[in-house]
Assembly symmetry: C2
Homo-oligomer: 393 residues x 2
């Protein structure tokens, strides 16, 4: 045995970055349950039940609702490569890293991509899309509901009619929003949507919940060309997730156990209670950060509750503070991506991470570290401000 | 909470099918270790160490050796879509389901595919490939080392020089072979190879070990077009697995723990001991099955030790026996795929499943069930035959 093959002994972290979030002990236990075969009657029952839970979570009746056997970015790729054939037009709304990624994925699928861009931290109004929709008449419009790189919350309801009036299908990135705020697939008439497990579902990364509307399914079935990805071809995946149970690939059994248990926890709490909890903890964090003079990268009306992107205070060493949070407090927060690198901290309050104690310990830790860095604020004020919210919550 | 959201309670199975195999308790425990961030210094160290273990397992110095964040079929797709650009020629050797799958994946990647076919259960000699290699001069030759649908063992060493003499790169499917028999990536001059975790590595499904030779990496870097899959683009994945640690997608942290622990177990036993164990248990099963009059679907010289594809005895109801094995003994074996459906059983002796006790209990169970079905054999003879091997082993 070589020297480097040491026993696993991961440190205990409080995961307040952009994901993964903290995992409930019941989910970790579920991952370790005995593995059965991917065609075992027991596993097929778990798949069925999990599909039911995913439909409740997405608030949809979509038959084709399932978990892709890879992480959230593969969910994005699944939606794009199934709906797009070479030469199809796709309009992608870009106001951060994940819109950029979607445009890249779409071009790799052969789409004729039209980019509509807004500054990072802003969101799209119907007026922002009208002209491009009218001139391009895209087959698919892709948009990110919760832009994890900026913390901006995009209204899907506000743009859905416009997209459909143009004859387009609506593809939504719900990686960071699902489980932390309402995602109404049927009410908002979403045609394709994907998410990840490691954000507000508080399951380790590894699966991607996806749902396709009947119209999207018809589009896939009517394709002239094969889906370019064999692994992500939903027409074949449907035969495994459906009643035929045709073998496609070997499903990730134990990850499925984990997601199943994570969904059970959400519905034990109740979806609306879960959303309210995310809002309360966000409000407490926001008031606490305000007391420290820390500003959000997004205006008040478009802030996500689960991903708080805030500006690194002037004179503060971004990486040094994050390192100190990790090393001295075991707290992970995220740095900025792309245009926000070095300028923004991304503080996650996702799923099981979103709790009173985490808000209070992060504010306490920031008070200690920013105090050492000579940032002026009234000592204790951030914790007091957060407690003011919790006391009224 | 809806009625169907019951607590997880998987039955205890003995997994003797084509995968997943039985999981060692230490691997299940590893899956449940505390989740850390995908850029946490601790996780980056685990990735580094795991890369080292994968290189030892593949017996390669290939820098680009890593685990793809999806199951083995995505490993196949990774190798194909990175090496192939639209219009490139690829020769695929087909003697079972997984060669067929590779041809499908290659066509979806835009390859001009030449199929060389052999009957199911047979393997390819250099003579089988010479004429197609000479006329096509393919960029890539794809071949399955251990065809999981037939149990046939393909010599890679025998064909490697021929492939390279034609100027082609050699792409090998080692999903079922890796960890159960020698896979010599450098000695055999393999350019691209992929595997899965749920076969001889005895880790739940969810990751795909992949290794690319320097020549393959150069080919990827010299592409004129982007890799069609963003998720599987190894030029971007290399920046995360390499020293730059550029964020690509959120890695499946806990699955990585599981694979890391599974690899530790293999190297604690020793790779050669592990291969020898697979051979011994295969020999014992083979002798036991012979005593029951059960024949292999593959001739003696080309049988895989870890995947025993045998003909369902005449007069026996394939599905009924498999169901009885599952329900009365908790044993899963696999049915036939494609041309072998209803005609073949696939008995896996992979990884942790490959042990004396499993061979003996399966033979005992088959004696009971085949006896009930009126198949003539000498009672106790299969167990005695297996014990004969174990006694000399």
């Amino acid at each position: 045995m070589s020297d480097n093959v040491v026993e696993l002994n991961p440190p205990l972290r409080t995961l307040m970055g952009p994901g993964p979030s903290d995992i409930h002990p019941r989910v970790l236990e579920a991952l370790a349950k005995p593995t059965v075969g991917h065609l075992d009657p027991y596993y097929l029952q778990v798949m069925d039940d999990m599909q039911g839970l995913l439909r409740k979570l997405f608030r949809t009746k979509n038959e084709m609702t399932m978990a892709i056997s890879a992480t959230g970015s593969a969910g994005m790729e699944t939606c794009v490569v199934n709906l797009i054939e070479p030469g199809d037009s796709m309009l992608v709304c870009i106001n951060g890293v994940f819109g950029m990624r979607m445009a890249d994925v779409a071009e790799r699928a052969g789409a004729d991509v039209t980019r509509v861009e807004k500054p990072w931290g802003e969101v799209f109004s119907p007026d922002d899309l009208k002209s491009a929709l009218g001139s391009v008449k895209p087959k698919v419009v892709g948009i990110v509901m919760a832009e994890t790189s900026t913390g901006a919350s995009q209204s899907i309801a506000a743009i859905s009619d416009l997209v459909h009036d143009a004859g387009s299908m609506l593809l939504v990135d719900a990686v960071t929003s699902l489980g932390g705020m309402p995602v109404e697939v049927d009410d908002w008439n979403i045609d394709a949507i994907y998410s990840g497990t490691q954000k507000c579902l508080s399951c380790p990364p590894g699966l991607s919940p996806v749902s396709l509307s009947p119209r999207a399914v018809e589009t896939v079935l009517a394709r002239k060309t094969k889906v370019q990805s064999w692994y992500l071809d939903t027409s074949m995946l449907a035969s495994y997730w459906g009643t035929d149970r045709v073998y496609h690939h070997t499903a990730p059994i134990n990850m499925t156990y984990g997601l199943y248990e994570a969904l059970r926890l959400i519905f034990e709490e109740g979806l609306d209670s879960c959303f309210a909890r995310h809002q309360t903890n966000h409000a407490a964090l926001r008031e606490g950060l305000a007391a420290l003079g820390i500003e959000y990268a997004v205006s008040a009306e478009h802030r996500l509750p689960m991903l708080n992107a805030v500006r690194v205070p002037a004179g503060v060493d971004d990486a040094a503070i994050r390192r100190a949070l990790l090393e001295r407090f075991g707290i992970e927060i995220g740095g900025g991506l792309g245009a926000f690198a070095g300028k923004v901290w991304r503080i996650g309050l996702m799923g099981h991470t979103s709790c009173q104690n985490n808000v209070l310990i992060l504010l306490s830790a920031l008070e200690q570290l920013l105090g050492e860095a000579g940032i002026p604020f009234d000592p204790g004020s951030s914790v007091a401000a957060a407690n003011g919210i919790f006391a009224n919550g």
